[in-house]
């Protein structure tokens, strides 16, 4: 491993956010190397297009740069904060796209494209390995959920639906959906606790 790779672990996510808040662009570069692939993954899953997903990642990091001074560690990890920004921007794009298609009455010609394989990621090789490992764990954890629990969680996270909207979409009582989300998230927490991005930094 190069010396660059070993110095990487010396700086915590929290220190990088503090650096970004103080105007240090290198801190943003380091955060991108750690989480750029994760943000791209969630953006791609939501928008289904490579170019749009990249646009989302650019916007998300620009927002993170602006909002870094307001980051509060007590409210969650840097990784959780960054991925939520990426998810929100991706959902914004999908909603804007739907609005545009409604307004101009053009059919959505946007077909999902095949993503580039993970191997193309050059940001941080050590990080890519971690992510590959985590990806397996996340799949395993999702497989422990009942299909309805998994469906509810995926509709919420990837389609941005509220529990009420999920209940409406699936024609199920709201209470049932709330229970599925709660129990499903509890199960995921049990399975994934050892694999959080930079836990307790």
């Amino acid at each position: 491993m190069s010396s660059q790779g070993s110095t990487r672990t010396a700086t915590s996510d929290g220190e990088l956010i503090a650096g970004a808040a103080a105007g240090d662009e290198r801190a943003m570069a380091a955060l991108y190397d750690r989480y750029g692939a994760v943000l791209y993954a969630v953006a791609y899953r939501i928008v289904g297009q490579r170019a749009d997903a990249e646009e989302v990642v650019v916007d998300a990091f620009a927002q993170a740069w602006r909002d870094a001074p307001r980051f509060e560690a007590a409210r969650g990890s840097v990784a959780g904060w960054l991925t939520m920004i990426g998810r929100s921007r991706a959902l914004d794009l999908v909603r804007a796209r739907a609005r545009r298609d409604r307004i101009t009455a053009t059919a959505a010609a946007d077909r999902p494209e095949a993503p580039l394989a993970m191997g193309a990621w050059r940001g941080d090789p050590a990080g890519a390995v971690d992510h590959a490992e985590r990806r397996v764990r996340v799949r395993e954890a999702l497989d422990t959920l009942s299909p309805p629990q998994r469906q509810a969680i995926e509709l919420a996270y990837f389609e941005g639906l509220s529990q009420s909207e999920i209940a409406e979409r699936l024609q199920e009582p709201l209470g049932t959906i709330k229970t599925r989300v709660r129990l499903g998230m509890q199960k995921l927490r049990e399975c994934l606790r050892p694999f959080y991005f930079e836990p307790g930094s």
């Binding site: 662009e25 943003m28 991108y32 190397d33 750029g36 791209y40 993954a41 899953r45 490579r50 990249e54 989302v56 990642v57 620009a62 740069w65 602006r66 909002d67 001074p69 409210r75 969650g76 990890s77 959780g80 960054l82 991925t83 939520m84 990426g86 998810r87 914004d92 794009l93 804007a96 796209r97 609005r99 307004i103 101009t104 009455a105 993503p115 580039l116 993970m118 191997g119 193309a120 990621w121 990806r135 996340v138 999702l142 919420a156 996270y157 941005g160 639906l161 509220s162 529990q163 999920i166 989300v181 709660r182 998230m185 509890q186 995921l188 994934l192 606790r193 694999f195 959080y196 991005f197």
Partner: protein, 259 residues
């Protein structure tokens, strides 16, 4: 709060971290969250769980050029710090626009006072003052037109990009509109933004415009096609001379239906 209610609120931590609460539910939960360190810890952990869900999709990696684009995007806005827009947009955006208009008015008033002071003291800058004054008069007339009864405000937004913002003040009585934009990206030479009115599903060409170096833009007056059937306004990037039909994808769009 009863024990049962307390439980039900606490149970929302997972849904909140997942982003599965409606805006109203989120606000209620946040009020509770502020008073409960235990719930804060719970939410923080569920956010870690939610973050991992990012990896639940198909295996995907961005292109190699993305790093430079991300860092370019960061550098470009190094000097500006912009408050975030709230997501449940309609009311927030409307309130923000009204505040901006009121702010413009206040700025105008205080600028006027300063202007009067300076005028008394410095004859040598008279020429520049005339210039400033005419700008203020122009702004003033814009303000009056915006405040005219019957003028409605519409927002145009960009897909996936929170920054550029265009407000269209539409006076239905006169079929006139004023366009005011901020944080609009600069374009390559030879290109301009073009406004379109969507009438009965067909885009009708309107004015072209370019942002000032500050990213601001103001265009007035704009003729709005008369009659009913105007459902939306959109902005595309076109050759400087403008186009009869949109040749490029829509970069910003907004509904013009009465809310």
């Amino acid at each position: 709060m009863s024990a049962a209610e307390h439980d039900s609120v606490r149970d929302l931590a997972a849904a909140y971290a997942l982003g599965a609460l409606s805006p109203e539910e989120s606000r209620e939960f946040e009020a509770y969250l502020a008073s409960s360190p235990e719930a804060q810890r719970e939410v923080a952990e569920y956010r870690d769980v939610a973050a991992l869900l990012a990896l639940a999709g198909p295996e995907a990696a961005p292109s190699e050029g993305l790093r430079d684009r991300v860092l370019g995007g960061v550098s470009r806005q190094k000097t500006v710090s912009i408050p975030r827009r709230n997501n449940p947009m309609a009311w927030g955006a409307l309130a923000a626009s009204l505040l901006a208009v009121v702010g413009l008015g206040l700025t105008l008033m205080s600028t006027r006072r300063q202007l009067a002071d300076v005028r008394g003291r410095l004859d040598s800058t008279a020429q520049q003052l005339v210039l400033t004054d005419s700008m203020l008069v122009a702004r003033d007339s814009t303000l009056f037109r915006i405040f005219e009864p019957g003028v409605e405000l519409f927002q145009l937004t960009a897909s996936g990009d929170p920054d550029p913002n265009i407000q269209l003040f539409w006076d239905r009585n006169l079929n006139r509109a004023i366009l005011h934009g901020s944080r609009i990206r600069q374009l390559d030479p030879g290109k301009a933004y073009q406004l379109w009115f969507i009438k009965d599903g067909t885009p009708l060409p309107s004015v072209t415009f370019k942002p000032e170096p500050t990213g601001h833009v103001k265009v007035e007056p704009i003729e709005v096609p008369s009659g009913t059937g105007i459902s939306a306004a959109a902005v595309t990037i076109e050759p400087e001379a403008g186009s009869k039909q949109p040749t490029m994808p829509i970069v910003m769009v907004g509904s013009l239906k009465k809310s």
